[in-house]
Amino acid sequence: MISNLVNFILFLPTVVGLFLFFLPKTYKRHSRYIAAVSSFVHLLMAVALILEFDPNMSGLQFSEKHLWMSALKAEYHLGVDGLNILLVFSTVLLFHLSILLSTLERSYSQSFYSIFLFLESSILGIFLAQDLFLLFSFWMLSAFPVFLITGIWNTVKDAKQNSSLHFIIYQLLSAVLLCLSIFLMYFHLDAPTFDIESVNTATFSAISFDLYLFSISLDQVIFILLLLCIFLRLPVFPFYSWFEEIQEKALVPLGMILSSIFTLTAGYLLLKLNAYLFPKALHLFSPFLAALGLVQVIFSSFSILVQTDLKKLMRRLLLFCYGLMLIGIGSEGPSALQGSLFLMITVCFGAALLHYLIEQIGVRVGSFEIKTIAESSEMPLSLRLPSFTAFFTIALFSILSIPFFGSYLAQQMIWINYFQIHTVQSVFYAISYLICLSGVLYFFLKMFFKKNRRRQSLIHAADLREDFSLAHKLCLLPFLGLCIYLGTFPAALLRLTQTSIQVLVEGLK
């Protein structure tokens, strides 16, 4: 069982998804329970994986290697290391919680659950794949469940279905770029292979392209192609429009995944391929990455100030976090790299929780307008919905890097390193952070703690739904625990990533 653990973790959602797809319609109402139970079993497997993982070992663990297509020299190669162990666990946990929360809200169809579980498999495949071709296949595959779900089920009736089309065009372009870069890699290695470990030790043929003012080597070309591929999935300024559109219309469980782990697959690729395979090119382009991150941070912090819609506000906040992650990777230092990886995990949980809570505000108030939410009740919302406010506060604090919450330590790890390398830019970052913080906290206070000056609620008291039930609280409790744990004493989790980050930093040196 343990030897095949990664296989089970990868394929269990697909198998359950297929089972649900072919389940007779008479058992339709049971589909959500089947999905929830299977995801719980899946979570137990992920826990076993973490417990069995040896943090002192530098190489791959739980490796599974078989020949897949000899004609393409592609292998079915899976493995777990310090870079992906936490991401795999986060994926499984997030899917489990989103399925649990979705069962409390409404009954989704069995087809929805089957496609949703298929999405889980494909995201896990990206994290677990240790073969470039396999990784590319999962990369491409992961876009289509999102496309299908947003195409079939929409929260907002969009007659033209442009958001899903917009999304798939971006993802298709990203896949083509990834395909190009892996084949360029393959054919220009001294020993052609798709195996990531082997690519890391092999050398590229010394081809360079002379442009008018400068020449560019092949590994730099591949690095740029990979970077473009990543920027089409990670919402990065100016390529974030697809993210805004699809987030607006996605169903709650899908929205939770899209705002968290789905986009972070790109962040993982940045570490796994760009930083691990092309340390020299990363060193060359790191100022560019850090500058891009800073531009994104400044842009998002200012745009937060002018938002009137809570959903949009959250998306800009996420842009801010992704900008910080780029700064971390661009800073190259060991603590910055570890901080970036850690930031991915913390943002993952914070963003998913925040997305869910914002959707719940929408359900309760009937609008995402900040002004409408603030005036929805005669008394402040914090008194009307105390549990809800508590959860919202912790989720928001977790994303905002408030001390002892979520991404606080990650931000500190990145910022200190950034300050040492780019002192002037780090001051700009600090100012942007303060602007962002003050803007978000202002809106937060306005919505939840300010008294309604109109003294007349926009929504009738009877229409405003009750606070969270016990079931809701129980489902949200793991999020809460994680947000606080990650911000206070995450040493045990950081230890899991330590060895792989060391390897990465040594490569960069």
Binding site: F136, S137, M140, Q161, L173
Partner: protein
């Protein structure tokens, strides 16, 4: 050592020949006459043409099973007089049998064609399929000419048959004239070859062809003529404009048969009389002609398809680009690996187009109206979910979603082009990929959106199985890619004993 029975290899030809005779007799009788027949354990009164259809389909399925089973162990290529027994012909004939089965099956079901015309149509399909199967095994210029002529005649009659619109009839006449013109081109090319070799036999001709063609020799001229014939049937540039016109007014089942059978003829001819006969390095002509034609075929095909409103015309143009993409790897040098990839691409494009054509047929039949526009897809997911899912998967295959056959096709082609450092052709390939994706997205958008125009149609288990059968080769090919590629490699490289 002869390890294989030649007779079992010619089972499809014998079947088609026998069917032609039976259908000629049937046409002399009154096919609509009611007969009392116990058919498949159901005692019922039925008409002669219904009984003949069912008998035909049942026999065709048996023939396919027998033929595929008996020849599965075909391990070496043999020349028997003017015919060849090889894996290439084996695969091609299997495709023809499947195509004939699907077409006749749909003709039986469709309401597009009048009952009295159905028998005649099946007779023509039998004749065309017979000539196609014979063409795939012919190794003599005479027999190739005869079977190509039979195919052309039956095909032209088929196209002129049942055309109700004036524009469609004109397209048939245009096609008829072009067809005979191309037969003439083939005849001239053949005469040049006979003049140079003093023989009509493939083996004799092969012996006199040098390793390198001169720029202006008789052989070079015949090579050019043969390339034209092959490209005509493959519908490559500059012959791309004939076929979309042709399929517009025809019944959908005929449209699919005509498009796909023509591609089969073109590819078969290309393999037998160009790749196998002429040397690998056909000089500058190859390098100047083939890349140019392939790139133009892909680009023009996509732009034409983009402008099409009629579903069949769209698929006609789109399938041209699919087959053109397969030939991209052969564009500069027909190495054995490139030949294998081209064959694999051809087979996967055939699968994708076959599936799409057949589902379009079913869709247009279900609508029971004259809707031939994109609107036929509107809101399909809401009223026919299983059917829509099958179509969605076929479109995703066109988009190159892993692990579908389409994905493997794109990957293998692009991989080869990057390996050979053909970056310009690689960009054309990527252009094709993105354009195919955009076409598919357009249809997917239609399938998802739209109002529920009609009530959900119940799908029986058999119907679901039937729909799923289109997806088996598309979804499962990645599991046996190595075996598939090795089969295609063996089929493309002729090893005559």
């Amino acid at each position: 050592m002869k390890t294989h029975s030649t007779l079992s290899f010619f089972v499809p030809e014998l079947f088609f020949l026998a069917s032609i005779v039976v259908y000629m007799v049937l046409n002399c009788l009154n096919p609509l006459k009611k007969i009392h027949i116990r058919f498949l354990f159901n005692q019922r009164i039925t008409s002669l043409h219904q009984a003949s259809f069912r008998g035909y389909l049942l026999l065709l399925a048996v023939v396919f099973a027998v033929y595929a089973g008996l020849n599965a162990n075909l391990s070496e290529d043999m020349i028997e007089g003017i015919f060849i027994v090889d894996r290439f012909a084996y695969f091609l004939k299997s495709l023809i049998l499947i195509l004939a089965f699907a077409t006749v099956f749909h003709i039986q079901k469709t309401g597009e064609i009048h009952l009295e015309d159905k028998n005649t149509l099946v007779l023509l399909i039998n004749a065309a399929s017979f000539s196609l199967t014979m063409l795939s095994v012919s190794l003599s210029l005479n027999s190739a000419f005869i079977f190509l002529s039979i195919f052309t005649i039956t095909f032209s009659i088929m196209q002129g048959f049942l055309k109700q619109k004036t524009a469609s009839s004109e397209a048939s006449i245009k096609f008829f004239i072009f067809n005979y013109f191309i037969l003439g081109v083939f005849a001239i090319g053949a005469v040049f070859l006979i003049f140079a070799s003093d023989s009509v036999q493939w083996l004799e001709i092969k012996k006199i062809i040098p390793a390198q063609l001169d720029d202006m020799s008789v052989l070079t001229l015949s090579f050019c003529f043969f390339i034209s014939v092959s490209f005509f049937y493959l519908r490559f540039f500059p012959f791309h404009f004939i076929f979309p016109d042709l399929v517009q007014g025809a019944p959908t089942s005929l449209a699919s048969y005509s498009t796909l059978s023509c591609s089969l003829v073109g590819f078969c001819f290309f393999k037998r009389w160009i790749l196998d006969l002429f040397p690998e390095n056909a000089g500058m002509i190859w390098k100047e002609l083939i890349p140019f034609v392939c790139v133009l075929t892909i680009c023009i095909g996509h732009f034409l398809a983009y402008a099409k409103k009629d579903l069949r015309r769209w698929l006609g143009s789109f399938s041209v680009t699919q087959f053109g993409f397969g030939f991209l790897v052969l564009a500069l040098h027909p190495k054995p690996e490139a030949q294998m990839i081209a064959f694999f691409s051809f087979a996967s494009s055939f699968c994708a187009c076959f599936g799409l054509f057949f589902l379009f047929q079913v869709l247009l039949d279900r609508k029971q109206s004259v809707i031939e526009q994109h609107e036929a897809f509107n809101g399909l997911l809401s009223h026919s979910p299983y059917f829509a899912m099958t179509l969605i998967l076929l479109f995703l295959n066109n988009m190159g979603l892993p692990p579908t056959l389409g994905f493997l096709q794109y990957i293998i082609n692009l991989r080869y082009l990057i390996q050979e450092k053909e970056y310009l052709l690689m960009f054309v390939g990527i252009f094709h990929w993105l354009m195919s994706a955009s076409h598919s997205l357009f249809f997917l958008k239609k399938i998802f959106q739209g109002e529920k125009t009609q009530n959900a149609q119940p799908n029986s288990f058999m119907r679901k199985l039937f729909l799923a059968s289109f997806l088996f080769p598309i979804l499962l090919s990645c599991l046996w890619l190595d075996s598939l590629l090795s089969f295609f490699q063996n089929a493309m490289i002729l090893k005559v004993h």
